[in-house]
């Protein structure tokens, strides 16, 4: 498989775009015409061929541009990447997991050669060719987690597991939907989820935590989450709200299809062997509404979901102001016909 990497930006002129193939394989998150929070975990690692669920870590046409965007964000705000001292072993676990998965799943892009603790890593798209000693941080230019997550799309939270809870004690977070690693670091599963409406009362977090604590190696799982973002911006952080918050007000009936994006997070859960920690990659996918409606099923369904979404969810996700415009735009693509079950486009 050869991937043509896009030359594109996620800020300023927003030249981000999806190829027709990227549109077809977009991880549309709704399997029916309405949406409510649920304990929506499923096994991960061998999904439908060609889909973002096929491999443990999906690499797509946005890879190189996303890594460039991460570098800019980190330069402006180094606190987007943090690892408490006791999380270093988990960082090595994560490095091994990503290197193994990428070199096995994309051998023409990545290779890993191991001779005991002497490792040789080649990342062709980013032009990296590096020999280092596993578990010896002095042989890497950054800590192990930072090193590997500068080469992997999506945000990463690395959780320590103890006292029957998960603790967010390391992470690389530059493409988040309005939450902050610097604020959440050191919190446990219930604490960092405190702002989420309705789900606590529904018992979702309590059950989800039980499930996560028992996740085994070799048995990763995943869930999808979503929100709406104006402009294809990865860094929608609270730290930079002053930059992207006002852009919500630039939406008009004329530009909604082009400027309004559905933002989908493919969240995966991996048990880490040496540290017994949990890795939580959060991969962000963006699609403009005008591209999304080229798949008729998705246009119909998204209209119904957004139209009928409980107000608390729209408010929490931050698109209450633009909801009427979005519904009005999408209604043009909903002819009222029934939709087929599942998330994939009809053939």
């Amino acid at each position: 498989m050869t991937i043509q990497f896009n030359d594109e930006t996620f800020r300023d002129d927003y030249s981000y775009h999806n190829s027709p193939a990227a549109i077809r394989r977009f991880p549309f998150p709704f399997d029916k015409d309405d949406y409510m929070y649920a304990v929506n975990m499923e096994p991960h690692g061998s999904g439908r061929a060609g889909s973002p669920f096929e491999n443990r870590f999906d690499v797509d046409e946005h890879y190189v541009a996303e890594m460039r965007d991460r570098e800019i964000t980190l330069k402006e705000d180094p606190l987007r990447c943090q690892s408490l001292p006791h999380m270093e072993l988990a960082g090595w676990d994560l490095l091994e997991l990503i290197m193994e998965a990428k070199s096995e799943d994309y051998p023409e892009l990545f290779s890993l050669h191991r001779d005991g603790d002497r490792w040789h890593w080649i990342n062709r798209p980013l032009g990296i060719d590096h020999k280092f000693t596993f578990l010896d941080p002095t042989t890497l230019p950054y800590g192990p987690m930072e090193y590997i997550t500068r080469q992997a799309q999506g945000d990463f939270a690395v959780l320590d597991q103890r006292d029957g809870n998960l603790w967010m004690e390391a992470g690389m977070v530059t493409s988040q939907a309005d939450w902050s690693l610097d604020f959440d670091i050191g919190m446990n599963f219930f604490e960092w989820h405190a702002p989420v409406p309705l789900a606590h009362e529904m018992g979702i977090f309590q059950r989800a935590l039980k499930f996560l604590l028992a996740i085994q190696q070799d048995a990763p799982s995943r869930r999808l989450n979503w929100t709406m973002t104006v402009n294809p911006r990865l860094d929608t952080s609270p730290e930079n709200y002053h930059k992207w918050g006002p852009e919500k007000r630039t939406l008009t009936p004329e530009n909604t299809g082009e400027k309004q994006y559905l933002r989908v997070e493919l969240q995966t859960f991996f048990r880490l062997p040496r540290s017994n920690g949990l890795a939580f990659p959060i991969r962000c996918y963006l699609i403009s509404l005008q591209d999304l409606v080229t798949v008729p099923k998705w246009g119909r369904r998204l209209h119904r979901v957004i139209r009928d979404l409980p107000d608390e969810l729209a408010e929490y996700k931050g698109f209450t102001v633009n909801r009427p415009l979005i519904v009005e735009y999408l209604s043009r693509f909903d002819d009222g016909k029934p939709t087929s079950p599942g998330i994939f486009p009809d053939e």
Binding site: K210, A214, Q216, P273, R274, S275
Partner: protein
């Protein structure tokens, strides 16, 4: 739960009652690494019954060439350990799960104090191997009744910070002395009979230790219960749980879909709602809260039992 067939490559008697088993991949494949304190579930096909017991790994967590466990023969138990002792030979293959850790080291600790009673030494052996490799500060206190029964002595290296206490020789473990002189930031891990874990908790409380610094794993070997009956709300069927069987095993035998992981009352995966209960649930788990126990609205089928007239569960 993911698992693979592994071959028994070594069996060694560590004491009259305890045997060490080593498992390797038949094709020589590397096994997933793990962290100190992890266990595996061993499946034992015993006639019509599939027994599944959880055993702590005692081998080096960073060594993927094989897994080792130590099994104490429990003649009063449910039979899994007897099966391992009498029916399993070198060269046999058994299905072994991927390791799972519910008793891991706290990476924040400045020092680790590991306390084991009897066969509770097993998870602590792997924790020790991990600590030795990471060059962390630790000490071990291992208590056994008789030297001849103390299988752990064969597994512990002779080091100044590893102490054995054989009570029959007048050397009783003095918890007060152990816990009193530890530096701030020390974490304590206890594995053994419930009485030992309670004693450590009480002693630590008396000395003003923060609760978050105490970790424990009780090795639940539920006593062979009496047979009992359970009615399944979804199908209306009634399932009989034999005296040497867990409710989880009985449900599996009846082909009832049920999730599980630890099979030891700790992970929460098998949690089942109780629809109605006329009698008393014998809660043997460490998962449900005290309120959930006393209200009798939930049961953990992997370890808990029932005595009384009628139990209907939501399965």
């Amino acid at each position: 739960m993911s698992a693979q067939m592994l071959r028994v490559t070594e069996i060694e008697a560590l004491s009259p009652l305890v045997k060490r088993f080593r498992f390797e991949h038949p094709g020589g494949k590397k096994l997933p690494l793990f962290s100190g304190g992890a266990h595996v579930v061993v499946e034992m096909p015993d006639g019509d019954l599939l027994r599944r017991n959880a055993y702590s790994l005692i081998s080096d967590p960073q060594d993927g060439s094989g897994y080792e466990i130590a099994v104490r023969r429990e003649d009063g138990g449910r039979g899994g350990s007897r099966f391992m002792h009498s029916n399993v030979g070198q060269g046999d293959t058994l299905r072994i799960s991927t390791p799972l850790n519910l008793f891991s080291l706290d990476a924040r600790a400045r020092k680790h104090v590991l306390i084991a009673g009897g066969i509770g030494i097993t998870p602590i052996i792997a924790q020790m191997r991990q600590l030795l490799r990471m060059q962390d500060r630790f000490e071990i206190h291992y208590a056994a009744r008789l030297r001849s029964e103390a299988a752990g002595l064969r597994l512990l290296p002779r080091l100044p910070h590893i102490h054995s206490h054989i009570s029959d020789e007048g050397d009783r473990m003095d918890l007060g002395a152990i816990l009193d002189r530890q530096p701030i930031g020390t974490h304590v891990y206890t594995c053994g009979p419930e009485g030992l874990i309670t004693a450590v908790a009480q002693c630590a409380a008396r000395l003003g230790w923060p609760r978050g610094s105490l970790h424990s794993e009780v090795f639940l070997a539920p006593p062979p219960g009496r047979a009992f009956e359970v009615t399944l709300a979804k199908s209306g069927r009634t399932v009989t749980v034999g005296p040497h069987q867990s409710l989880l095993e009985a449900l599996e035998e009846a082909q009832v879909e049920i999730d599980w992981s630890c099979r030891g009352g700790a992970c929460g995966r098998c949690e089942t709602d109780v629809v109605s209960c006329h009698g008393r649930i014998e809660h043997n788990d460490h998962w449900l809260s005290e309120d959930e126990h006393s209200s009798q609205t939930k049961i953990m089928p992997c370890v808990s039992r029932f005595r009384g007239r009628e139990l209907i569960i939501d399965r």
